[in-house]
């Protein structure tokens, strides 16, 4: 058994998806079709409901199946792959760090295999690559979260080469990718649970709603 409570991580992530919902929706309105906030929140709410029903299950494995089987859009199943791999890795070790590191590594690999995105394409991958690097180094859990969040933030300067956003090109530049932002919040939740007193910022300040001017694109 690992010591960081997966269940609390997933529930904290679910709360974060509520807090960040409007910001994520606005970001996906700028670069896509505006449903990413809904997709993420719905998937996590369903996971929490499933956890409430089936006591004792691995929270990341449950999240994996829910996202894989019930959440639509491009991001739903990709996040499902990530959770599934994390769940599988955590189930096979007592070492939190090794479990999360292996899980994120193989989750990222699966996402890239399936989604064919490279770093810099303005996708989920841009949050996961720095998070994995931090996990593999000797960063604190908070350091991992910060790496993921700043990877996501850096997508604001890039043009999408993958996904729906690739059709809008220039217009999305200046705002971060919704998917990368949403996935970074997983590491934010992990750090909150693992290191509650580390001083990591709140969602509202880390993921601001883009201004109207931005949204008009």
């Amino acid at each position: 058994m690992t010591t960081i409570d997966q269940d609390r991580v997933v529930r904290t992530y679910a709360q974060a998806s509520h807090t960040a919902h409007d910001a994520l929706t606005a970001l996906d309105q700028i670069s896509g079709d505006g449903d990413f906030g809904d997709n993420l929140r719905e998937g996590l709410d369903r996971t929490v409901a499933a956890l409430d029903a089936a006591d004792g299950a691995s929270a990341t494995e449950v999240a994996g199946s829910v996202f894989l089987d019930e959440v639509g859009g491009t991001s739903g199943p990709l996040i499902g792959l990530l959770f599934s791999e994390i769940g599988r890795a955590l189930a096979g070790t007592a070492d939190d760090r090794a479990g999360w590191t292996d899980g994120v590594r193989s989750g990222l690999a699966a996402i890239q295999r399936v989604g064919e995105a490279e770093p810099g394409d303005r996708t989920l991958v841009d949050a996961l690559v720095p998070a994995l690097a931090a996990l593999e180094g000797d960063d604190s859990w908070t350091g991992v979260a910060e790496a993921a969040l700043s990877g996501a933030a850096a997508t604001a300067g890039t043009r999408a080469r993958r996904g729906r956003a690739s059709y809008v090109g220039e217009r999305a530049v200046g705002n971060p990718d919704p998917g990368a932002t949403g996935v970074a919040l997983l590491f934010w939740a992990l750090a909150r649970v693992a290191e509650p007193d580390s001083g990591l910022g709140d969602i509202e300040e880390l993921v601001p709603v883009p201004t109207d001017r931005d949204r008009a694109g």
């Binding site: 894989l68 089987d69 990709l78 699966a110 399936v114 989604g115 064919e116 043009r159 993958r162 059709y167």
Partner: protein
């Protein structure tokens, strides 16, 4: 709210039920997750063919489930990829000894959902390969990694691979054949009126009476250019030129598909067919086979696409091989 005649709730589900009811001898409906399988596929098949994609492009793909084409199809919501679980379960239901070949139109959502289904199938020990259909010339020069969209060539791939699969071809060979057919196929589409938006109602984008959207997509993506509408023979001339320029060697002739985008009449499509045929004749390009009709539409968009496939030895026989599906025409006199 809109002029499409669709039920207020679950339009795709209701429609698929009506489809299965109409073609009960050819297809079987599976619910939760939603997919259709062929009732009587060819007994010699060793590799199953599975496709799917957003609804609104019907008869693609469900209309091509049956003898001689697809083993299964997974319909998504309107213009949205099917969920990976639909693809996964459909593939499980029809997988054969050689495994499953996925025929996927090149859109991110479809690639990802078919990709995830493939991961899961492989985890179950089912062999999977993918043929990615990316024929739309209008998206050739995108500065992105998304590549050319998949449109009319999907039908060509499904028919030729279907006939090949019926001869017992293996997974690798079929995947290679599929890649070859895609590489030899290019499409271009134009529209004079956008499709009705299924969510908002009204036209999905607006064109003036004298405007033409050149290089339009099948989801209401606007085209490469909005131009002043030339006479029809000028449009077909330009499209033919661009398609031939975009194709490899056409020395063995071409397969010509004139496809309606939904709100285009047979009168118009056959006129387009005549004009394109005349252009090809002028350039001494032989037409080995022709198909005219509404097969890969964008809901009720008014417009048409032209697909040319540069023929290779043996492909014509596969194209003309017997078929029984809800939508592929079998118009040749019986021998």
């Amino acid at each position: 709210m809109n002029r499409l005649f669709l039920p207020d709730t679950k339009p795709v589900d209701t429609s698929v039920h009506g489809f299965a009811r109409a073609h009960g001898s050819l297809v079987e409906l599976h619910e939760s997750p939603l997919f259709l399988t062929a009732t009587a596929p060819h007994p010699d098949r060793r590799t199953a063919l599975v496709s799917g994609g957003g609804s609104g492009h019907d008869p693609l793909h469900a209309g091509f489930v049956g003898l001689g084409m697809l083993d299964a199809a997974a319909p998504g919501r309107i213009f949205a990829s099917p969920h990976n679980r639909q693809v996964y379960e459909a593939s499980r239901a029809v997988a054969r000894e050689e495994g499953v070949l996925h025929i996927v139109k090149n859109y991110t959502g479809d690639r990802i959902n078919f990709g995830i289904a493939a991961e899961r199938l492989r985890a179950d020990g089912v062999e999977v390969q993918r043929v990615l259909v990316d024929d739309d010339l209008a998206t050739e020069n995108h500065q992105t990694a998304t590549g050319r969209r998949g449109t009319g060539a999907a039908l060509v791939v499904e028919k030729i691979l279907g006939a090949a699969a019926d001869t017992g071809l293996g997974l690798e060979e079929l995947a290679r054949l599929g890649d070859d057919v895609v590489a030899a196929s290019r499409s271009l589409a134009v529209a004079g009126r956008a499709q009705t938006s299924s969510s908002r109602g009204g036209e999905a984008f607006s064109l003036a009476e004298d405007e033409l959207e050149y290089g339009v997509g099948i989801h209401g993506e606007r085209g490469a250019a909005t131009i002043r509408r030339p006479a029809l023979d000028r449009i077909t001339e330009q499209m033919t030129t661009e398609l031939l320029d975009g194709l490899p060697d056409v020395g063995d002739g071409v397969l010509l598909l004139v496809n309606g985008l939904g709100g285009t009449t047979p009168l118009e499509l056959y006129a387009v067919h005549e004009l394109v045929s005349q252009e090809l004749e002028k350039r001494r390009v032989e037409v080995g086979a022709r198909l005219v009709g509404t097969f890969v539409p964008a809901l009720d968009m008014s417009g048409f696409s032209i697909t040319l496939t540069s023929l290779r030895p043996g492909w014509l026989d596969r194209w003309q091989a017997p078929v029984r599906t809800p939508a592929f025409p079998c118009t040749e006199p019986r021998s």
